[in-house]
Amino acid sequence: MEPLKIMIVGVGGQGTLLASKLLGRLYMNRGCDIKVSEVHGMSQRGGSVVTHVSCGDRVCSPIVDRGEADFILSFEMLEAARWVPYLRTGGLILTNTRQISPMPVITGAADYPSGLADRIRELGLKLDAFDALTPALESGSARAVNLVLLGRFSRYLDFSEEEWQEAIRACVPAGYLEMNLTAWQKGRSE
C-alpha cells in the first residue's frame, strides 16, 4: 500500500489515544505494517498532546515529522493550527471547531486567536472544520467526540462500514459500545 501518515492532536484527556488505537486496529486488520507513537506522563495533564500513526508496507520511524502528515485529525481548533507545519503538501486537516482555552488564555496572559479556520485556509491548505461536540452530546457524552471525528474521517479513508465496526467493537468497552457506534454514525453522515 501507499504509505500513510496521520497525526491525531488535541488536549490531554480528550480521548486521542482511543482514536489512535482504533486506527491502528483498522490498518493491522488490513495486514499493513504500522507504528503508533503516543505521549504519556506529564504532558497528558490538560496539555497539548499528539499521537502519530504511520502505516505502509514497511514503517520505520514511529514519529511523523514536519511536512509529512497526509492527515491531521484535530480535536480542538487551536491545536489544529499549532500542528499545521506537520501537514504535507496536499494533505488535509480535519478538525473539531470546539475551542478549549489553554492556561495562558485563562489567566489573561494571551488571547485565544480568532478566525483560525480562515487563516488555515488562507495558507492554501485543505481544511474540513466542523462541530463534533454537538453530535457527541446527542450520542450521550462529550467523551464521544473522538468517535464523531473518526466517523467523519472515515469518509476520507478506504474502509468499509463493517471494517470500522469491527475495530470499534474491538477497542471500546462493551458498556459504551452503543454510544460510540451512534457517535461514529453521526460523524460519518454529518
Binding site: 503508533v36 505521549v39 504519556h40 490538560g46 514503517v59 520511524s61 514511529p62 503538501t89 485563562i106 495558507l123
Partner: protein, 575 residues
Amino acid sequence: MKQLMSGNEAFARGLYEAGCCYVSSYPGTPSTEITEQAARYPEMYAEWAPNEKVALESCFGASLGGRRAFCGMKHVGLNVAADPLFTLSYTGISAGVVIAVADDPGMHSSQNEQDSRWYARASKLPMLEPSDSLEAKEFTKLAFELSETFDTPVLIRICMRVAHSKSLVETGDRREPERRPYAKDPSKYVMMPGFAIRRHPIVEKRQADLAEYAETSPLNQIEDGRDHSRGILTAATSYQYVKEALGDRYPVLKLGMTHPVPAQMIRNFAAEVGELVVVEELDPILENECRTLGLSVRGKDLFSCLGELSPNIIREKLGDGAPSCTALEQALPGRPPVLCPGCPHRGLFYTLKRNRLTVFGDIGCYTLGATAPLSAMDTTLCMGASISGLHGYLKTAGPEAASRTVAVIGDSTFLHSGVTGLINVAYNESPATVIILDNSITGMTGHQQNPATGYNLKGDPCTKIDLEALCRAAGIRRVRVVDPYDLEECDRAVKEELAAAEPSVIISRRPCALLKYVKHAAPLAVDTDSCVGCRSCMQIGCPALSFEDGHAVVDSGQCVGCGVCSQLCYFGALS
C-alpha cells in the same frame, strides 16, 4: 498471531516468554507500563517497590532464590539504584537478572536528559538497545540468556519512542527454566574488600568475553547500501529514523548491543565505507568508542546532543533536505500541562501562594504548582529533595527563613526517598514545615499504588502505612491533617506550623480527583448577576474556569464541583 503492542507491553511479553518469575519496580515515565503489563500475567510475581534501589536489591535476592528477575525504571531511577548496580556487577547473579532503564530524550516527562549508556560503561555491564516493540520482546529473552551465560545483570535501555510506540509483535510461548538451587558462596556474594578484590578481575574478564561475543552476536547487524561513500553507525530509534530518512542509500551498522561494542566489526565496517557517521541521540558515546578505536568519525558535529532526533534532521544533514511545510504567521498561545479540575493540590498551592512562601518542591503531578498562575514552587531537583533541601536552607538562610519556607512532597515520593530527609530534619533539628500532599496514589505516572494506598500492584488490599505514625516515629511531634478543599483550614494550619519553633508535618489529604472511586459533586454554576468580573476565582488556574464577556464561566463538562473557586468569590456568584 501478530499484535500491535507498545514497546513496554512487548517488554512485559518478553519477560513472560523468558520465564521471568519476579518483577519489582518503581513507576517512572516512560518505563511504568512494563511492570503494569507484567502484573497481568499470573505466572509472574510483580510488585511496586518503594524505590528503585529497593527494587533492584530485591531482584538480587530473587535471583539467588533461583528465579529470573526483572526491575524497570526511568533514567533518573537508575541514579537511585546505582549503589546496588555497581556491586551487582561484581557479585554477578544466580538466575538471570535484567534491568530496564528508560531514557527520555526531549524530556517529555522528566527533569533531565541524562544518557543511561554511561551507566553501562561505569558499572561494566552489558547493555542492549531495542529499536521497536518486536526487538523489545526478543532482546528481553536474549538478555536473560546472556545474563546467565556471562553471570551478569544485563541492562536494556529503551527510550520514550520505543516505550510508548506501538508496532507489530509476533508472540511466543513461555519457557520457564528450572529453579536454580541456592548455593552459599561468600567469595561471590559477600562484597567485603578481601572478596571483592578477587571479583574485580572477573568483571574485567567478563567485559572482554562480552566484547568478543559482540563481534558475532545477532544483535549487531550490517545492512548494505547503494552508496559506500558514507557508512552510518547507529542504534535504537536513531536507526529507525535513519532508515525512514535514507532507506538503503548508505550501508548501516546497527548495534543492538551498545556495550561492549564490537570493535573489529566497527573497524571492518569503517574500512568498507568512505566517511563514517555516527547517528545517536544525546551524548557522543558510540562516537567516542569509534575515536578510541582510532577511527575518523563524524557525529556530534552534525547532530545535537540536545533533545530527540527525527527523520527530518537526518534528511537535512545526510539526505536531500526536509520536505517543505507551512505555518501560521501569528504566534499561537502555548498549552502547557495543568493541574486537573478538582485536583486536591490546587487549594494547598493557592494557600502557599497567598502567604508568599518560599517552597521547596519535589517530583510529581504537583510540580505543576510551579506554573502560572499558582507559581508556588521555588525548587525541583529530584525525588525527595524537597525536605532535605529545606533542611539545609534553614541552616543557612537566617532566622526568619523558617517562618516563610516550606517543603511540599507527594505521598509516593515521600515514601520513595523523602522519609530519610524527614529523619534528618528531626535528628539535626531544623524547624522545618513539611507538607505531604497525600492524594492516595502515585499520580503523574498514571495511578500506581504505593505503600500509603492500602493496595498492591495487583490491586489486592494490603498493609497500609500510617503516614502520621511514620512521621511521629521519625521524631516529628507536630503532625496534623488538613483537607486541601478547605482553604481556611489550610491557611490556618500553614500559619500555625510556620510559627512553631519545632519541625512539623502537615498532611494535605484528599484522593486524586481522577480516581474512579472518587465521587464528584455537581458542577458549579455562575450567577452572572452577582459576578462582578473581579477575576478573583481565576487565581487558582482551574481549567474548568474561563472568563468571557466580563464574567466567569464554568465548563460544566470539566468542573467536578470541588468548590475551591467558590471560596474565593466575595460575591457568592459561584455555587
